[in-house]
């Protein structure tokens, strides 16, 4: 059976659910090898967290260049593994970092690339939702190793326990990849809430919150949801930029998206309109986001959300 590579996705010291999603998609094509790129001395610990999903083996490469030189060093190492294993495909998480790594590996290995896939079939055909989710496209790579970036939260992950074999490897990192040097890195601030792109439910607030996210957060916490924000809210400094949903923020596709005090500019819609169910709370009946809402409440979010929070709490018992 042919090998399919995935680049294991981490948040801090732990493999994310996205890693299991990538493995689930990759396993349709062949036997899955997850590549773990770790700082010196950390490989075994990181690899041990790659323990969910249909993963046959883990290829561990340790180098401090990944932290000092970022995307370019990671791409060099990954391209080396691709050349070594000639896999049937390479799957990477579709976020800024993953897409840039994929871009460089495509150049280095002379391979075609497809980004933002929401599904991948056994013959490595990728499904994408383009033009703001209005069109479904199926595409295939016709040259080299198919390199496909997959949107987090689009594939139902097989999270059965895995105990993959561990293989240690080394990487040759070029001088070109070392040209940019990272002087310092600050990880994103994490609250106790789920990751925006991984959450099943997202509750977002916009300018309509007027800077007070307490009602949005209370509803989110009851639903076990992540909190998102429109650009108006992140620009005003009400919520961190890392929570921005939209064209220049994150793309989310949860089971449920609740937008509160958000008008629905095209740039915001670009990041949320493929959500399965959309609920909108807005006091302006003309707000364009109502056009794509499965359920809308015309009203003040400071009245509607606390009441909804209490009512949901009562239903949950």
């Amino acid at each position: 059976m042919s090998t399919v590579l995935i680049l294991a996705d981490f948040s801090g010291d732990h493999a994310t659910k996205t890693t299991a999603e990538l493995a689930t998609a990759a396993a349709r094509i062949g036997s899955v090898s997850a590549v773990v790129l770790a700082p010196a001395g950390k490989g075994a610990a990181l690899a041990a967290t790659v323990n969910q999903g249909p993963i046959s083996n883990v290829i561990v490469i340790e180098s401090n260049d990944f932290a000092s030189h970022g995307v370019a060093a990671v791409a060099d190492a990954l391209a080396g593994v691709v050349k070594d294993k000639s896999p049937a495909a390479l799957l990477i998480a579709s976020h800024a970092f993953g897409k840039e790594v994929a871009a460089r590996v495509a150049v280095l290995t002379e391979s075609g690339i497809i980004t933002d896939a929401v599904d991948v079939a056994a013959d490595a055909t990728a499904t994408q939702l383009v033009f703001g989710g209005s069109t479904t496209v199926h595409s295939q790579v016709s040259q080299g190793t198919p390199i496909i970036t997959v949107r987090p939260n689009s594939i139902d992950a097989d999270v059965s326990a895995a105990s993959p074999a561990i293989e240690n490897a080394t990487a040759a990192i070029s001088d070109i990849a070392k040209k940019a040097t990272i002087a310092s890195s600050q990880p994103p601030v994490k609250g106790g809430r789920p990751e925006l792109t991984e959450a099943n439910i997202v509750v977002s607030g916009g300018r309509g919150t007027d800077g007070n996210f307490s009602a949005v957060e209370a509803f989110a916490d009851l639903l076990g949801a992540a909190v998102g924000a429109s650009r108006a809210a992140t620009d005003a400094g009400w919520y961190p930029h890392s929570h921005q949903v939209g064209q220049t923020g994150k793309t989310v596709s949860p089971q449920l998206y609740v937008a509160c005090g958000i008008s629905g500019a095209i740039q915001h819609r670009a990041g949320m309109q493929t959500s399965k169910t959309i609920v909108v709370v807005n006091k302006d009946p003309e707000a364009p986001l109502f056009d794509i809402a499965d359920f809308g409440v015309i009203g003040d979010l400071f009245n509607v959300l606390p009441q909804a929070t209490a009512a949901v709490a009562a239903k949950k018992g």
């Binding site: 460089r104 497809i114 033009f131 069109t135 016709s142 040097t181 002087a183 309109q273 409440v297 009441q307």
Partner: protein
Amino acid sequence: MKIAVCVKQVPDSWAEKKMVGGVLDRENVDAVLNDLDEYAVEEALRIAEAHGGNEEGGPHTVTVISMGPERATEAVRKALSMGANGAILVSDAALAGSDALATSAVLAKVISDGGYDIVICGTESTDARMSVVPAMLSARLGWAQLTFASKVVVDPAGKVSITRVTEAGVDEISAAFPVVVSVVEKINEPRYPSFKGIMAAKKKTIEQKDLAAVGVAAQSAWSQVKDATPRPPREAGLKVNDEGSGGEALATFLAEKKLI
């Protein structure tokens, strides 16, 4: 310093887009300068202005580089009217349907022939939405990659430092010339072209080149669309007026949909 800015002409964000024969139908929609590239033009101008300017005879130049159909001159002209000095537009029938790999190969050749110190891109084209061209340019040129910048500081002696912001956090990165930079939309507020700028842009040269003039062969796309199907548009669902029980109605909806 010689600064280049890569700009793309894209269909207007509001326009309805359709696929024809596996590629985006660009003929029948209004086209505009990719709005994220306006931030790249603005940043290039600000870098030049912070160190003596890019006026005629000034120490720095800002050159706009674009690949696209001939009518992309409109988008290029907008960048010129903001204040860039000149432009190179690569147009060739053989480039229709290019993917990001083919595009980056053409742009990389134009850039390396121009001898620039800094090339600045937007982070994403609003039509392709791939965010891959800047990284591909860096890999092809063998130049440092300084992408997703929310702040750019240039030492004209030959060093660029940026603050990179992505979902992975915030990084401080630096590299020596030549570098590939991409900028996020939080970095600045692009200027509106002034009347003077618009008039001046009419006299600026847009050097149009075909593939032979650039000196690269056309590369076919390395991924193919097998099929494209329009999805049924999202229908607006139930909308209720909050007359004191809107929150309860919301909770009932979520319960019926088994979302709680």
